[in-house]
């Protein structure tokens, strides 16, 4: 067993356990903290996959900004224990059955294609996934989507302000 495989297995276990923890926790604060752990482990996976820029962006954007926003809203509303009652009785077993079906289908396709997809072990080009390469791609072939993204963020910012402003009486 190579060190990389060992690292993968341990981290995969942590990722799945923290995702399940998020799902099961009764308290929304615990859910959010489990999700932070999950995002951090996924960032390590990005590092393993030669994507250092994406890994750092994952930590700063997801585990930093987005999850802080989540925690802030949960604590602001004091709504961490909402949702104790179950309105529809058969909803939970049905949801679990559907999730198992989805998992089995995806797993079947994955295992079926395992022989088809060959293993690539060739050397990567220099600086693969580095901020310089990401920046070059963003500002050459993806320039228009990048500019549209800035408009999207502006719309999100204005929308959030307008929605939470509250009406002046």
């Amino acid at each position: 067993m190579t060190p990389q495989l060992l690292l993968f297995l341990v981290l995969a276990l942590v990722a799945i356990a923290s995702a399940l923890g998020m799902l099961i926790s009764r308290n929304a604060i615990y859910s959010a903290l489990f999700l932070v752990l999950n995002f951090a482990t996924v960032a390590v996976f990005f590092l393993l996959l030669n994507a250092p820029f994406i890994a750092v962006a994952q930590v700063s954007v997801y585990t930093g900004a987005i999850m802080v926003l989540f925690l802030f809203v949960i604590m602001l509303l004091g709504a961490e224990r909402a949702g104790q009652i179950q309105a529809i009785q058969w909803q939970r077993p049905l949801a679990v059955a559907l999730a198992v079906i989805l998992l089995l289908e995806a797993g079947y396709i994955l295992l079926g294609q395992r022989g088809v997809v060959p293993l690539v072990t060739t050397q990567l080009p220099d600086g693969f996934g580095s901020p310089a390469q990401v920046g070059t791609s963003l500002f050459s072939s993806y320039l228009l989507p990048f500019e549209i993204t800035s408009v999207l963020l502006l719309v999100a910012m204005i929308g959030a302000i307008v929605l939470t402003k509250g009406e002046k009486k």
Partner: protein
């Protein structure tokens, strides 16, 4: 590098847990977090294939998905705060009418 289907398998498991969270949880904020988990599983598959094909395009896509997720979270949490102000609850079963 490990075989790409290791990462795909993990992404599938994380995506399924996220979908399950959307289906069985009643707290709107936890449902929202499950959606983030699903987006993140998709990101993992993208980065795994970007490494596999040695192409930057997958990583650029992840970058865009992250920006869309950030915008979505900002708007979604603003909506949740507004709904909580009028309904004093974020249980999705209570939020079944369109009227405020």
């Amino acid at each position: 590098m490990l075989p790409v289907y290791y990462y795909l398998g993990l992404a599938i498991i994380l995506f399924t847990i996220g979908a399950l969270g959307v289906l069985i949880r009643r707290n709107a904020i936890v449902i929202f977090m499950s959606v983030e988990l699903m987006l993140n599983a998709a990101n993992l598959a993208f980065v795994a294939y970007a490494r596999y094909w040695q192409s930057m395009n997958g990583q650029i896509f992840v970058f865009f998905i992250m920006t869309v997720a950030a915008a979505e979270v900002a708007i979604g949490l603003a909506l949740i705060v507004t709904i909580f102000r009028t309904k004093a609850s974020i249980d999705v079963d209570q939020i079944s009418t369109l009227k405020g």
